[in-house]
């Protein structure tokens, strides 16, 4: 159990459960016993090396708790976790050399020093050979376009710059498994695109396994071959994104702004008119991604009215989770 097999799965979880005792405010001594809350409930899954997995679920579904058990920060209440073949709690220090983790809301950089120095310190912390460290740092700096921010104190970086720096910091020691918790939260569209492109290139070159939590459907579409969805601590879906959308029948919404107000639009098969705003200027049309494409619907609409502007709303993850949950019982 203690010696890792070289070809062990990146993550191997069986019957993983974690409960937290919640103490109620004390009114009288010994009035009420501590209540147990199940954060992760009998979770079993396996992530093979080289996979790219989106780990999704609503807030409080148990995503962070799972990640903390995968990385050795939390001890499971019961069940087994093996990360790159290691026991994350007992072999935490060996594991730290082999995984990279970014928690979206926390920093692993030294906020009052120039960014470059954080990379130097982290190279020392991971005992990288100086030549290797230099090569890897310049590779990451170039690919993440950080050359201009390298001499800026971390506290002065913008959110997008800081997130790129965090990801570079997590990848500096070339980990086999990269775990990203909400990497694109709060980023503008361009920063998101660049980050996704970088991650795709990095994985293509180094074969890094990726586990990603996100609320952004775009992240999943672009980055993940497989989705694991948790709800109330239990696994409710394991498969591809199109499969998920098919399962829940999640619809996309086409929003069109018209040149002149129209009270109603003609009906199109398989499309639901959700409503209009601005006295008939803006219309929202829900359609099933399986049967219709956005382009086909737009063409159909444009035959009847002049469309000035348009937007497409993707199903929100919370929505999808809720549908799955309702469908399941």
């Amino acid at each position: 159990m203690s010696e890792p097999e070289p070809d062990a799965p990146a993550i191997d979880i069986a019957g993983l459960t974690r409960t937290f005792g919640v103490r109620r405010p004390l009114r009288r001594r010994g009035a009420e016993p501590a209540r147990q809350v199940v954060a992760v409930d009998d979770l079993t899954f396996r992530v093979e090396r080289g996979e790219s997995v989106g780990y999704i679920g609503a807030n409080g579904a148990g995503k962070s708790t799972t990640i903390k058990m995968i990385t050795g920060i939390l001890v499971p209440t019961s069940g087994i976790v093996r990360t790159v073949g290691l026991d994350p709690v007992r072999q935490r220090r060996r594991l730290a050399y082999r995984i990279g983790v970014v928690f979206g809301q926390r920093t692993q950089l030294w906020w009052d020093l120039p960014l470059r120095e954080s990379f130097e310190i982290l190279a020392a912390i991971h005992r990288l050979d100086p030549a290797v460290a230099t090569r890897r740092t310049s590779e990451l700096v170039e690919r993440l376009e950080m050359a201009s921010t390298l001499h800026t104190p971390v506290r002065q970086l913008s959110l997008g710059q800081r997130m790129r720096a965090e990801i570079a910091a997590a990848l500096l020691h070339s980990p086999e498994l990269l775990i990203l918790d909400e990497p694109t939260i709060g980023l503008d569209v361009l920063s998101k695109l660049r980050l996704r492109e970088f991650l795709i290139a990095e994985r293509a070159e180094h074969g890094t396994t990726l586990l990603l939590t996100t609320h952004d459907m775009g992240d999943i579409e672009r980055l993940c071959d497989r989705i694991l969805m948790v709800d109330h601590g239990a696994l409710v879906y394991d498969g591809s994104l199109p499969g998920l959308v098919r399962t829940v029948g999640a619809r996309r919404v086409l929003v069109v702004d018209l040149a002149t107000p129209a009270g109603t639009l003609p009906t199109f098969p398989g499309v639901e008119h959700l409503g209009s705003q601005g006295g008939g200027i803006r219309h929202r049309l829900a359609f099933d991604a399986e049967t219709t494409t956005a382009a086909a619907l737009l063409t159909a609409v444009a035959e009847h009215v002049t469309v000035l502007d348009l937007a497409i709303e993707e199903p929100a993850i919370e929505d999808v989770v809720r549908r799955i949950y309702q469908a399941g019982g």
Binding site: L74, V75, D112, I125, R127
Partner: protein
Amino acid sequence: MADSVPAAAGRLAPYVAVVRARIRAQRSYRTSFRIDLLGSAAIGVIEFGEVWIVVHSVGTLGGLNVRAILLLFGLSNLAFASGNLIAGHLDQIPTYIRAGTLDTFYLRPQPLLAQLLISDFQLRRLARMTAATTVLVVGFGLNDIVWDVRTVAVITMAVTFGTAIFAGLFVCAAGLQFYLINGAELTNAFTYGGAYAAGQPASVFTRPLTLFFGYLVPVVFTGYLPTVAILRLDSPPGLPSWLVWCTPLAALWVWAVALLLWRLGVRHYQGGGG
């Protein structure tokens, strides 16, 4: 330090890198750094003034005269200031937990406690050490001290193991703070309170206090016992003079408790029982 023992230097490299970074960061805010230094030195001076005024007006305190008090204060304060330099920031654990800094430490391949000890090396604490050293040197000059092997051994022991005792007390406090998220007030009683008690002649303590600071939170080993040994004075009941040779044992005791509390605290944080 590195060339003769490359293996050891390699092992220390991660720690050296972090400490050097902390120092660079503090030096980059020059004004604030200077004010910090002054503030720390001022605290040392004020604390000493407090003891000085008491002893000066009563002549002797617990069998020690003003000159002996200088020695006592210098020894215990130097030990406290050094222990504080090493581990004083550990009382920030609740802040580290809230900010998620602790989770970041879990993701690095060094022992957690070692990472925490070096995570916030504060140069301003050197000012406090300097103030304590000054008082100690003056104390050496004003007292009739027989400079033999025994005296040097007692002083060396008092400073090194005294530092270990205070650093250990900070680790104890940190371990407890995993349980008591707002428990700094309680644990400060042992760390800063211990430092205050260490600056007093133990002969003025009541019997329970003597036992408490002599054996449980053994800060009398950092100031009073070595002072009595250096000046070859009589020791009070409950604290025999040979006890000074047990200073390493006192440090060992504190660290045994410290590592136990730390382990329990970390297991509590990870939720693995304990």
